[in-house]
């Protein structure tokens, strides 16, 4: 049992740390005193910092060297994340592009696409967004309805609506899943496209959450035309391309985040301030339970890193950490607000913000129910739910659904 680095890792860590010691003052300040608050300015400064990180080899380090990466393994990428946290500086701005969409293009894109898009993505010149989800295609991603129809000149005309699109307002490009053959079964007949976000017919609308902040966007596509060469990974092969993105998504979330900053100590400070609360057996019990679970998430993370080092890629069970974290944070928010009372729910309160933020997080990236299904089936080997959408052409499926809903 050893929490320390191997000699090679220690050397790599030292290198990263040295670079950060030299450059960390150039990073934008996003929290605490002197922090930038204007969202646009934050984005601008973070992009500048991303360019700097890329320069130092701290952005997209797992990318092959020919595309600007360092060709290192996932453990090194963990080390970079840890050192960034330690130095108290932000990670890359375009986590989605660098962590998920870039790797997808590397895996499935044409050489022209790689040459054109990867460089500006890495250094933050061009931000990307992921356009998979739709109002009727959330957990069930293969239900996308956005239509792409090929024109006589080989270009594609797109119509539909995407939702939950992070960074759409900053993005130059989107990687977008659309249906190209509705007569095929739902998992077939989709194609992945690169969409210039400034194309005619693209409308971006901020999607406000409970707190009132627009953390996501909706994107409307109205007769948007893209070139034939914007297809990534082949026509009607979009599902396969998308699976690659989702695999990298799991890896990015699993190894990059550290419980969204929800830690026992943060809540202990709020609760411990109240002398009555800190001696109340019920408060102590509820808090002890959730704090212990949050601590477990930290150590599950270490175990995953250790397994990764042993060559194991984290599976869907990684999602359990998210379930634990979100549910414990929800309990913590309720507990802190119970102790403080209505004042905890003031508009400017950090607790009110947290309480507002968490219900959305619970469903983000797939509902808890879907996650439990996946883990039950893929990890515990339990039999799947009966699927009524197997082998039915997508076009008919919609008709069946409409009929059912009307019944």
């Amino acid at each position: 049992m050893d929490l320390n680095d191997t000699p090679e890792q220690a050397e790599y860590r030292a290198k990263i740390r040295a670079w950060l010691d030299e450059h960390k003052d150039e990073a934008p300040i996003l929290q605490g005193e002197g922090a930038i608050t204007d969202p646009d300015e934050v984005a601008r400064e973070q992009r500048k910092w991303q360019a700097k990180l890329a320069e130092g080899g701290l952005a997209g380090a797992t990318w092959p060297t020919e595309y600007g990466g360092q060709g290192v393994g996932p453990i090194e990428s963990v080390i970079i994340n840890q050192e960034l946290q330690r130095a108290g500086v932000p990670n890359v701005f375009d986590v989605i592009g660098v962590g998920m969409l870039g790797p997808t293009i590397i895996a499935h894109g044409t050489e022209e696409q790689k040459d054109r898009y990867l460089g500006p993505m890495l250094n933050g010149d061009e931000v990307w967004c992921q356009m998979f989800s739709e109002p009727a295609a959330g957990s069930d991603l293969a239900a996308v309805q956005t239509r792409a129809v090929q024109q006589d000149d080989g270009s594609w005309k797109l119509n539909g609506q995407k939702v939950w699109t992070t960074n759409a307002q900053y993005a130059t490009y989107g990687l977008m899943l659309a249906r190209t053959n509705p007569e095929a079964h739902k998992h077939k007949g989709m194609t992945m496209f690169i969409l210039p976000m400034d194309a005619e017919g693209v409308t971006i609308r901020g999607l406000r959450q409970i707190s009132g902040e627009a953390e996501f966007n909706e994107v409307f596509l109205d007769d948007v035309v893209v070139d034939a060469d914007s297809v990534v990974g082949g026509v009607d092969n979009g599902w396969g391309t998308g699976l690659t993105t989702l695999m990298f998504e799991r890896l990015t979330i699993g190894l990059g985040s550290s419980s969204f900053g929800y830690r026992g100590r943060r809540f202990a400070e709020a609760l411990g301030e109240d002398e009555v609360a800190s001696r109340n057996s019920e408060v102590r019990h509820d808090f002890g339970e959730l704090a212990a679970e949050l601590e477990a998430v930290r150590w599950s993370g270490y175990r995953a890193i250790s397994a990764l080092q042993g060559g194991q890629i984290p599976g869907p069970e990684f999602g359990l950490a998210k379930i634990t974290t979100v549910n414990c944070a929800i309990k913590a928010g309720d507990l802190v607000a119970d102790v403080i009372g209505p004042e905890a729910l003031a508009e400017e309160s950090e607790w009110a913000y947290m309480i507002s933020f968490l219900p959305g997080l619970k469903s983000a990236g797939g509902t808890e129910e879907i996650l439990r299904n996946t883990i039950g089936e893929r990890v515990l080997g339990l039999p799947p739910e009966p699927r009524l959408d197997k082998g039915v052409p997508f076009s008919e499926l919609r008709a069946i659904e409409k009929e059912g809903a009307a019944a």
Partner: protein, 379 residues
């Protein structure tokens, strides 16, 4: 045994729903988060519909109805998130009526606004009457009171009192030599500071009232009657929550039938189905206890603390659960600003911490049973 609503009660319920349907309460609940002015003032609506005099005796110009009737009104208000002045006004009017304050006729008529400042009766672990604190778990004692003849002078602070920010008359509970006394202080009287605002749920106006030797008219009510005001508020919050949960369940069930994923309506999945049944289970239990509370107020006063506390405890739990599940069943869209679910969630978050909070009601249930009180021998 007949626990069904009487025809008069059915009519009251319908009339209440009718009066509320003329205001876009749910939309206003959202708009008011950004602009308080978006809220329709519901005091005139309440006055016109007769809610303010519901518990005032007929000789004082009221309707002389029962606590359960008032709960029916609260339930209807809860269904549509109406911030109707009930939680503060009804106990105020009840105490003024009992205590012989002739200004209650004007209150019943809607000409004068009255609100009561909630004070919780002591228990075996909390040895004195207390009020909600501005912040934290340490509950301050009820304001100090000094009685001089027909007058009483109060000093102390009561935080987060529903309806109290707008009231002309404040019905205050204070401690005179350790014993509770109630009095009516004008909001404009010397020594009264009123801070008005809302937290998280913009429909619910809350007042934090500071009394610095503020003098008013003493009410001729005893300790039992004063404590009844507290339990009435608990019962009203319970009933209101029942209404809110009912709407949350209804809209969630509707969505679960219409929304498809993986080729099936999501309501066909056990995770969704069972959680909707869980809302229903909690709702049904809360309803039953509201009936109990209504019965206790009407026919079995010794059971009031237990019944009202049990109703609030279970209804509060139901509202907590439903507030979160409604969002969860709706998936990502349920957590967006434009959706109604977050408004119900906001209501649930605030109600849970109002007037002692759900947890104090739960504690009272245990208290009553530990003290050998609780249910009177069953039928």
């Amino acid at each position: 045994m007949n626990l069904e609503l009487s025809d008069e009660q059915e009519f009251l319920r319908e009339a209440t729903a009718g009066a509320l349907s003329r205001v876009k309460t749910v939309e206003e609940a959202r708009e008011a988060l950004e602009d308080e002015a978006a809220l329709t003032d519901l005091w005139p609506v309440a006055a016109e519909a007769g809610w303010l005099g519901l518990l005032v005796s007929e000789e004082n110009g009221g309707a002389g109805l029962s606590a359960y009737d008032a709960m029916l009104v609260a339930e209807e208000a809860g269904k549509v998130l109406a911030g109707a002045p009930l939680l503060g006004t009804l106990p105020a009017s009840m105490l003024m009526d009992l205590g012989g304050d002739d200004r209650v006729a004007a209150v019943a008529a809607g000409e004068t606004k009255a609100a009561w400042l909630p004070a919780a009766p002591p228990s075996s672990v909390e040895d004195q009457w207390t009020v909600d604190p501005i912040e934290g778990m340490d509950r301050p004692e009820a304001p100090q009171a000094e009685v001089k003849g027909d007058e009483v002078t109060f000093t102390g602070t009561v935080a987060w009192a529903p309806d109290a920010g707008e009231a002309d008359l404040l019905v205050v509970v204070g401690l005179d030599g350790g014993s509770p006394v109630a009095g009516v202080v004008e909001a404009s009287a010397d020594g009264v500071t009123v801070e008005s605002g809302w937290r998280y749920d913009a429909t619910r106006k809350l007042g934090t009232i500071t009394l610095a030797e503020a003098t008013g008219r003493k009410l001729d009510v005893d300790e039992d009657e004063i404590s009844r005001a507290w339990y009435l508020t608990q019962a009203l919050i319970a009933a209101e929550s029942v209404g809110t949960v009912a709407t949350a369940l209804e809209t969630s069930v509707e969505y679960a039938k219409e929304r498809y994923t993986f080729g099936r309506a999501i309501g066909s999945y056990q995770a969704i189905k069972h959680s909707l049944v869980e809302i229903m289970r909690r709702l049904d239990n809360a309803r039953s206890l509201c009936v109990y509370a209504g019965y206790a107020f009407a026919d079995s006063p010794a059971e009031i603390p237990y019944a009202a506390a049990a109703a609030r405890s279970v209804a509060g739990g139901a509202l907590d659960y439903a507030g979160r599940q409604q969002i969860q069943v709706h998936g990502g869209i349920g957590a967006t600003w434009e959706h109604d679910a977050p408004l119900y969630f906001r209501r649930s978050q605030l109600n849970r911490r109002l007037v002692g909070g759900t947890s104090m009601a739960t504690d009272r249930v245990a208290e009553e049973l530990f003290q050998g009180r609780g249910p009177v021998a069953a039928v």
